[in-house]
Subunit: 501 residues, 2 copies
Amino acid sequence: MILKWQVAIIAPNVPALYESHFGVPMAGAVVNTVNIRLNAQAIAFLLGHSSAAVVMVDQEFFPLAEEALKIWAEKAKGNFKPPLVIVIDDENCDPKALRYALGKGAVEYKKFLETGDPTYAWRPPEDEWQSIALGYTSGTTASPKGVVLSHRGAYVMSLSSALVWEMTEGAIYLWTLPMFHCNGWCYTWTLAALCGTSICMRQVTAKGVYSAIANHGVTHFCAAPVVLNSIVNATPEETILPLPRTVHVMTAGAAPPPSVLASMSEKGFRVAHTYGLSETYGPSTICAWKPEWDSLPLEQQARLKARQGVRYIGLEFLDVVSTQTMEPVPADGKTIGEIVMRGNLIMKGYLKNPKANEETFAGGWFHSGDLAVKHPDGYIEIKDRSKDIIISGAENISSVEIENTLYMHPAILEVSVVARPDERWGESPCAFVTLKPGVDKSDEGRLAEDIMRFCREKMPAYWVPKSVVFGPLPKTATGKIQKHLLRAKAKEMGPVKLSKL
Amino acid sequence: MILKWQVAIIAPNVPALYESHFGVPMAGAVVNTVNIRLNAQAIAFLLGHSSAAVVMVDQEFFPLAEEALKIWAEKAKGNFKPPLVIVIDDENCDPKALRYALGKGAVEYKKFLETGDPTYAWRPPEDEWQSIALGYTSGTTASPKGVVLSHRGAYVMSLSSALVWEMTEGAIYLWTLPMFHCNGWCYTWTLAALCGTSICMRQVTAKGVYSAIANHGVTHFCAAPVVLNSIVNATPEETILPLPRTVHVMTAGAAPPPSVLASMSEKGFRVAHTYGLSETYGPSTICAWKPEWDSLPLEQQARLKARQGVRYIGLEFLDVVSTQTMEPVPADGKTIGEIVMRGNLIMKGYLKNPKANEETFAGGWFHSGDLAVKHPDGYIEIKDRSKDIIISGAENISSVEIENTLYMHPAILEVSVVARPDERWGESPCAFVTLKPGVDKSDEGRLAEDIMRFCREKMPAYWVPKSVVFGPLPKTATGKIQKHLLRAKAKEMGPVKLSKL
């Protein structure tokens, strides 16, 4: 897969980043939004990998870009062709940062726009399969892969995204979700199609979200479960309730714990739970709500909503298949298989990575790497990432189910469960826990015992974590918990001894 | 263009007609919805032209179908291959009609369904450009042409139609618009995509519309201007007001008179004005409403809304071009050109009609045959059909503009203006008028003078109709006024004499 030419953009959710989703493709180029939480080394890799012709960078991130360019130049040696560097001014930033960038020869964004030809007649792509965007996976496990998206896919996704979410003309959308994440799940383009309004946020805080809802008429926003968590646990000073209108929230990235969903709903947010990957333009399934569920107890509603649901209207094929035979699993809510997909909402492929493409598209399906069951009503529910399943005494244990239960514990803010080597069972569950502010942390032993007792009441004995570790959780640049680091840590801790039983 | 095999359906808006929009394409066939207002001769023509393999017919229309089949068989002589005839039962009909059809060997619809294979695995079309539907134009001027629509076009239209009209999941749609009219402007498929509800109506009356709104939760319906007219002029016994909720109404087919739009709005209907043709899957433009227009006087709002507007999100290209040079006309609200279009929402072509296809797609554009101006805000406004323009003393007169003014006259229910030969000016406007019920019709001469005086106050002198004729207006099977018949009638009346001046 060869792309024509790329424009890389390193910026938080500022208007120029939104504009780049139109200006860059209309100029015939491919927009590559770069995760601003990456380090210079990682950015250097992807600029080099995609041969960026232009680098647009928010003034705050100019030093990061500068370092990345330096590393790229060093690695490429004689082959380095310096890109055009454009710096984005933002009145919310220290003007010194802009002056520094200009001193280093960067062109200011608005000045650059003035050099444009006002009579330029933009043309639609000659072929709808032409690439529109490139985005690198956050790489929880391996080195980042460049996901290439097409005009056609982005188009179908943009329309689908409005339809699945009751988003109509004139929607007012808060940019909590980074636009560098699958082009903001394609809502960049959806909003244009709906003549919607974008409210940009440099930094996401619970206070900022409540304030934008109160002051800017926000009707919709997307957020990772970690943001929902912070909204639910915001202090009274940060919170503005009741909400002035129903606010639609779309969440994805991991199954949000039922307790968080229930609390959001109590506050008046209408949460749509979706599931997808960078490779699928953002969400590809939604837990479509059925009116008859309204009368169920709130916790049962939250449990139903925690399911990943049914395919997006724009996604042609979705199934859960046996990892052995590729045959569809029965819709029994029990048999675990891999989620596979086909159709318009699947990426063109990974840039310059034939091996990964071959693996990912084996058998003519896109392999998500996520393990799920299919319920009798056709809704799918993720049980684990392939790598996250815990195998204890030949039994599969879903780390996600243990986490969902642990989130109901009153002292727990965040939790991640991984496999720890176990002398008797091979592996056993190990819970890494961040406690809520205000919880007395003086006696960790007593807290751990309390948590285990809590679990024993709610799950099979062999699911109960044998180890509980307290502290902050390592996260990727997009806020996903890095289970592979926790897995490594659990391994370092050594196996659970037989004597512990 | 060769189609695989066709299923013709002759039925009013009954559930079986809706179902055929899914069952027929899923069986790999093309759905051909037949206008039930056509006569046997016309139906015989189109069944033969499309070589229908199956004819599904509502029991009320069985005798019509029977006669059409007889004519077809006679004309085709030895080449006639009798189609499978399926009769649709409807509890709202006289059971004698069903018995008659069964006696003639027709298979009952539900019985036919029972012969299906429950394990049949439907397949999506191998090629998205494969045909999904065939529909014959109403033929105001020439013999009917078979418009062939593709799966791809129907898909893009179905999603677009929801987005332009604030139609969200669970919409409740009233079938006032015949499904045989461009497959109900593709709302058949839109409703499935939105998990919406269809309320079917065998016959459209103002009373039935009000009653469905009051009793079935209707949120949306589509209707030709003639239906809006009957809603606006309904008797108090037929009317149920206030509306229990905002009801979205989409209208198209001809610019509805501003007075009708204003009256609908006063009653609480939110009217979206759209424009399109059979060849464009239904509407291709919508007069998208701007919030700043809300504060304008109601009549000015109605005038703005009477414009055809801007292109649908799914239509890639729309322009108004000079009929001489094909160059775009200036956006001055004055220069008249032809509306042309290109993109996904344009038919594949006319069935077995290369000559018509060549003309219609001349220069790589679909030619609508409608004459319009482009306003400075980019909105287009139809001034006339090419054939409907009146040329008086070398000046072009828009018959539509005269009609819009006449609709404001308190005594006028319906009006159509055409050219009548004129000794002095070549042509001059001639108005055919239907009066409202209750208007004193005893002195037509005085009424005609009153109407002309009304016009003189509101338009240039040469626009004022020199002739006013009272009586019912001839209409096509889809309710369009047949201007060519009126034009013939005006010609028969002979030229306006010099002495009349």
